[in-house]
Assembly symmetry: C2
Homo-oligomer: 207 residues x 2
């Protein structure tokens, strides 16, 4: 019986940091780029190619339920993206089967919906996201950072909408939406881990 | 130096319960209908009249910043609603000045924006809200409950939009959005109160 926390997050909101700290507090696995490494091992694509596919998903605006039936069936990029998503979903399910863990991004909240994960959405106001990005990548101007924030979140939104037929960031798809603008992520993670330890409601048997 | 938690909530989501439990855990004041009682004392309106005004706000869809300048200046209902809102906001600020507390509804997140309160939005899926309402009011059919949920949330949304020029339920207006559908409210409140105790980020000097 595993318990999984999934983290969806706006770019620059500190979602990864929250995920890592939750995993540390709970002493459970944390999976983010590790999934990408496994994907490269299991498919014929390079890390760079997969990342480019994720950044510029070759999808129409229709969700998969519509797209699958009559669109793009002969488009190579589209087929490859589908192959990658399927392999990725298999890896995510294997990780969830193995042990309690935190999984960042990759529509894991949806891929694992039958496992009833605890689903986070992490967000922040633009000023906080700019500040966080500046701390990481000093080379970009404010204007460039804002463009980057918009571009990456647009990709994430499109990717999520396509694979899940749900709206990325819509509160109802998550159990907890955390605004990190004025929140100490370490304090939050340590209190939340207490809740996660105690709570019976979020435990769901897995297979 | 007071610290305030504000609770905005969808009808039937358990927001009041969460607010009460947070106040209990933190051993601080809890204000909800107490504000209404004070309002009746301070204005010439009855409790029933004020409640009716809140349920059916006599406002246009424009926010107050637009409405104030050229609309409704002679409309008695509108003027009365403004009087009530002003008196209510004064009471809310007085409560915040006095001591740490939890305040439910009444645009308190906006009224107290200079106090930097910790702002909750509490929501749930429709099935959970129906279940919660059924536990309270067994007389209504499912269809009637759904109508009630929609009607009350529509009023809250309109009231909030008018007075704050912000969108009710928009994640960015809150620090934490809690989906109570699969969450044990008592467990959550007790873990969160720990975070609130520890966290320095949410403390803000008042005045």
């Amino acid at each position: 019986m595993s318990r999984v926390i999934t983290i969806s997050r706006e770019f620059g909101s500190g979602g990864r940091e929250l995920g890592r700290k939750l995993a540390e507090e709970l002493k459970i696995g944390y999976y983010d780029s590790e999934i990408l490494v496994q994907l490269v091992e299991r498919t014929s694509f390079t890390e760079r190619y997969i990342q480019e596919m994720e950044d510029n998903p070759p999808y129409p605006i229709f969700p998969i339920t519509i797209g699958k039936t009559f669109l793009h069936t002969n488009d190579v990029n589209f087929q490859q993206a589908q192959t990658v998503f399927k392999a990725q979903s298999r890896i995510i399910r294997e990780l969830a089967d193995k042990a309690d863990c935190v999984i960042v991004g990759r529509c894991a909240d949806y891929v694992l919906r039958e496992y009833h994960p605890y689903r986070f959405f992490v967000y922040a106001d633009v000023e906080s996201k700019i500040k966080r990005c500046r701390e990481r990548e000093s080379g970009l101007s404010e204007e460039e950072i804002v463009r980057q924030l918009k571009r990456i979140d647009k990709s994430r939104s499109k990717y999520y909408a396509y694979h899940t037929d749900q709206q990325w960031g819509d509160k109802l798809n998550y159990d907890l939406c955390v605004n990190t603008s004025n929140t100490d992520i370490q304090d939050f993670a340590s209190s939340f881990s207490q809740f996660f330890f105690n709570s019976k409601q979020t435990v769901a048997p897995i297979e």
